[in-house]
Symmetry: C2
Subunit: 335 residues, 2 copies
Amino acid sequence: MTIKDIARESGYGVTTVSRVLNNQPNVSEEAREKILEVVRRTGFRLNSNAKRLKQQTSSGIAVVVKGTNNMLFPSILQRVQSRLLDTGWACLINYLDESADEVEEAARICAETHPLGLLFLGGGIENFRRGFSAIPVPGVLMTASARGLGFDSLSSVCTDDVYAAECVIEHLLDLGHTRIAILSGWTGDESNPVGLRCRGCLNTLERRGVPFDARRQLVTSRFSLADSYEAMCRLLDAMPDLTAVFAAADVMAIGAIRAIRDRGLRVPEDVSVVGFDGVELGAYLTPKLCTVRQDSEGIADRSVELLLDAIHGGAGASHELVPFRFTPGESVRQI
Amino acid sequence: MTIKDIARESGYGVTTVSRVLNNQPNVSEEAREKILEVVRRTGFRLNSNAKRLKQQTSSGIAVVVKGTNNMLFPSILQRVQSRLLDTGWACLINYLDESADEVEEAARICAETHPLGLLFLGGGIENFRRGFSAIPVPGVLMTASARGLGFDSLSSVCTDDVYAAECVIEHLLDLGHTRIAILSGWTGDESNPVGLRCRGCLNTLERRGVPFDARRQLVTSRFSLADSYEAMCRLLDAMPDLTAVFAAADVMAIGAIRAIRDRGLRVPEDVSVVGFDGVELGAYLTPKLCTVRQDSEGIADRSVELLLDAIHGGAGASHELVPFRFTPGESVRQI
DNA sequence: CGGGCAATGTCCTTGATGGTCATGGTTCAA
DNA sequence: TTGAACCATGACCATCAAGGACATTGCCCG
């Protein structure tokens, strides 16, 4: 079924059919009606490959998601999809495991679709470095900053991770906690949001003159319940007298709480726990999770806007912060 | 940058370049090397639109996800993506909100990419009815049965929802519960997995001769924490003496537990709760969630296999059940 | 009768593939 | 030694399904 068949069927030429299908002028109402009738009857659709070939455009926007365990992602993705649908863009989502070596392959396949823009979600900047940087279109990194990384065409929209983490530690210190542990994805890599959160913690601890021994009080974990459970166990071994834990993600906080309880300790009576992300689930847990709520919808909306601007207007890269909200919760108590 | 430029640049003809780029024989190793070098240097990529236009093939497989709140979905999606990457398929994920009216638009955009196959996740069969049924390619419905729905080209892979729910209720009855409430997405529509779970409950209650008043003991909810919270409140109002609740999804169970606690009741001392899905999170909650663990990886793997078989071999639709595992948990107690 | 205009068709273009054919060279077996 | 088979290669053309420039047609009106 091609446009020619429709032309033959309706008794008009391909040009006229093309005009009708693309809502162009210079077609009589009669022809339009007749052709549309045939199109409806046959369920015909333009061949998008041919159309795009001719028009030199491509299919849409590719979204690269790294890490399936971040509970904030589904809501961001849904919002992104919805925004893109509004404007008629197709959206190719690549869902990669956090540890996957599949990035190169995914980038290759992604490049073949010639997307007009890229959205990255999760996993810091490594996504971009490994393969995707070869795709010469604008991109926006969501929930992490790309400032100063030397990618001209990569914007970013995220929470001010450093400042938010500073607020969290301020809060804990104000409540009287001094033996605070950090459960983080810290790798010394401060291009990673989790690393920045860790940096924020250290900033405040230092400014307030609270002693901190990174070897005992800081443990790294990946974004998974099982991993953060293990990590929390190590923390409790190394520092049995801790009174508060800052987990760099809600997922980690939940894993940590389980570990704390399995040691026979209570949250928050024995150990206070603060998370980061503000997933809806946190408010349904017992105790309700104290966390930093990231504005996932704001991040999604702004990212899509930036990307479309860059695609249409050729705007340069910009880096935006979206307000967060510190959400006190029952998982933290005063000492 | 076209294949002609590469040909000129490398000193070979387009035919040879085409052969190299498509890994075809009859090319000397020397030519292959030289051409690949130029390709690498220029970052050239074939125009996939032109290629697909000529070859009459399309981009890959579209995955339609309806409902962002199902906590089982991310792991299924990641697995699907991984399996498809293994075989070199692109994967277009459409992430729709459960209640979204966007299905038609999404189907339109999806159709324009001419996918070779469709995977549906969530939301029963309505996804397919509304728009996607016009796309004439094989499909597989994941986590819900498509048997007997009259779609020739739609396979399905799912858990035996009816039987699993029967097991759950057997378990509750064996523990002495008789005043059992059901929190379900029941709509009388038994093509919906949640409806089937409800049906399973009713089967067992009836077989065991336990009185059940659907108007008091059965409440419907959507797949969201907030909705199931509300629904559980209604249940507690209508039936203050209930001792156990079956929630048709883990998300609902978590919302329900919050509602129960906000009434000053304890889980499981006052009210036992059973969920359905077996998300990893359940084992990290307090109390650990009693649930039915669906084999999300098995469902993903089998669905991809069925779909690829249907695409390649033209195999007809088939409907498969994947084993589940009933997972006892602390959220249920004996009476 | 000719200018103006709307409706419509002809023909070319897009980037890649694949088939045909010709060429020049090599290998192998009779 | 010679002919057949084979290989790497490139030139050329058709093909794919659409879009767009331009040409053509037919009609109305002054």
